[in-house]
Symmetry: C2
Subunit: 208 residues, 2 copies
Amino acid sequence: MSPKISDEVKEQRRQQILLAAEQVFIRTGYELATMKNIVEEADMSRGWIYLYFQTKEEIFEALIAKYEQENERMLGELIACSPSSWAALETLLTEQKKDMTTIENSLASAYYEYFLSGYRDKDRRIRLIRRYETGLSYVIRLIESGIAKGEFSPTLHTGLIAKIITSHLEGIMSLAMAVGAEQAEASAQIDALIPYFKILLGVSEDTG
Amino acid sequence: MSPKISDEVKEQRRQQILLAAEQVFIRTGYELATMKNIVEEADMSRGWIYLYFQTKEEIFEALIAKYEQENERMLGELIACSPSSWAALETLLTEQKKDMTTIENSLASAYYEYFLSGYRDKDRRIRLIRRYETGLSYVIRLIESGIAKGEFSPTLHTGLIAKIITSHLEGIMSLAMAVGAEQAEASAQIDALIPYFKILLGVSEDTG
């Protein structure tokens, strides 16, 4: 019988598997990755890994959930600590600029692949829609905090503005991924969003 | 020996194969499609099809090239026939709105898949970058025709504006594909682009 391990060690091992899997997904994409690759990268026994995850899909979902939690935490802090909601949005855009420069070495391409191959898979599509709505809800929260503080007076409804912001960043990201961030002038594209978003949100003069 | 066939018949057959292949790619996506599926859909003998194309990649490239030629022709006509360059751009956006409603039954998802699985394939990536540049060059032509006519006075450089327009449409399209056009409010998102593009292009009062 194997010795009992603490919850802390269990969580450490889980994180070790996720870290290894992330490297594999970045290197090979989603479709070509195998549990065997992940076992080798994690440098753990096969048996150990199967205690935590049965399929690469489970691991990938856990990775996405991990990033979503981090994003949610970051956004919560950002709203709490920024001098204004507009400043919070600008910080988010600055973060996106940084992310664009490393996009070719990120999970992004595996993420797209996963969603595309999942496009015809009903369950995965439902999860994708739910995830899209979760992502939107963060942006909506940010916009609503600005409205509540009297910073923003948008003319379009909040949900639509959140969708517009999301689409724009999404489009820049997918082109940066396809042709490279430099070729896509991703950073300049994000800068060009700032005056547009100000208009969309109806940012008051003394904030923006 | 098979009887000689005219160039016209040859071209007809080629189009028949492309049409059939398009149906297969729409139905199954790129990765899962096989030459066998295409042969069956085209209702021609295997031998005939292989006279025209050796691989599904060749067929897919031919399909993309066909759409690119159509787009180029359409854009040429649009610039030639529209009362203004701004009107031409508005027509393009209206077309995009129509396309969004049928996106789930279009080549779009196979197209994304092809580029994503091609992301790590050097040759395909070079073709992808060339294609992106061709797409941009159409938008640049449209912007430059507006500048030449004194309709547009943009402050950003033409190439960057073309990239911004392309990214935005791209982002809306990929979200429409992922969650459905209605859920993404694709049409309202495109409408919201109009005032933004006016500012970006510096559309003069008497045009816009």
